[in-house]
Symmetry: C2
Subunit: 202 residues, 2 copies
Amino acid sequence: MGRPRTPLLDRERITATALRLVDETGDFSVPRIARKLGVQTGSVYHHVDGRDGIVELLREHISAAIDPGTLDATPWDAAVEAWARSYRAAFAAHPRVIPLLMTSPVRAPRVLAQYERAVGVLLAAGFAPAGIMPLLIALENLVLGSALDLAAPETMWELTVGAPTPRLAQALAAVGDGRADRAFDVGLTAFLEHARRLRTGG
Amino acid sequence: MGRPRTPLLDRERITATALRLVDETGDFSVPRIARKLGVQTGSVYHHVDGRDGIVELLREHISAAIDPGTLDATPWDAAVEAWARSYRAAFAAHPRVIPLLMTSPVRAPRVLAQYERAVGVLLAAGFAPAGIMPLLIALENLVLGSALDLAAPETMWELTVGAPTPRLAQALAAVGDGRADRAFDVGLTAFLEHARRLRTGG
């Protein structure tokens, strides 16, 4: 299955090139990576486990920017909040990678290990096993949606004379700066409040 | 500024071609649309207001699939919930368009009108104006993150012998089918609970 048999440096160059392509164009392909690196397409396949393998290298690369210490915080809700904030920051640096990673199965061992730790935090806090993945996925949806929103322009709604929207204008004038961070705070607060009640059966 | 001066059909063909390109490749360009339609690049510019204009055509096209009747439901939280569910379904059909639309300013009059109605629902329900955009954006982050998740494979975590993750395996076994829908329900429930408390000062 084409297990990598070459120095780490080559996989790092492939990862960096794939990331640059996705940042710039929204996608990558093995032939385009090869062209950028000035090698034959076949050479790239010698270093990585095909296109899916490169997706997993991207996942590991971006997830490595999530502070692993956050999940050690106590109590559990402080750990979840700190992890979510670090997770959002890591992905906000590469918003165009988000749809690629969200629609490919997670295979990267280091990333699976991070899910293992997050599940462990919630199990140790007393959550029922059946509820843990829905909670974690709901949190990821919020985190990754919000990471995309961080890449949006600060003036996201361009009101025009031709489209009278007085109430939207009022709401936008009232919110002021930092709307993306304030929205993430609202979503994260809502999530944590819900999770605390769920845990205590409230 | 290049206002369209041609039949609607031409803009519809440009929109459909751009959408197909984004669905397939994650992005579009005016020259690629022209090639697909067998016309000169300059001809495309005669019909639309440049690249930004095409982004807005895509926004209008996808937003047109959101059921406009949802925002008429009563009480306000039934309207918000129905709107969020219809919004998610509309964007789940075109997940790769999500990052494109989330990172470009909203100018399409019909889409601005939909925000105007959503803001109106929350104002009429008694929410403070300063809190309305953070609420709506938090809801959109959840909706669009979840729309991306709907495009993910049902088996999203591929556990391997090389990466022992017993707690993740336990949590995945316990959740069963329909994890994406269950996660969206968790996130939406958390959001609505928070909004209800916020409204009543609880």
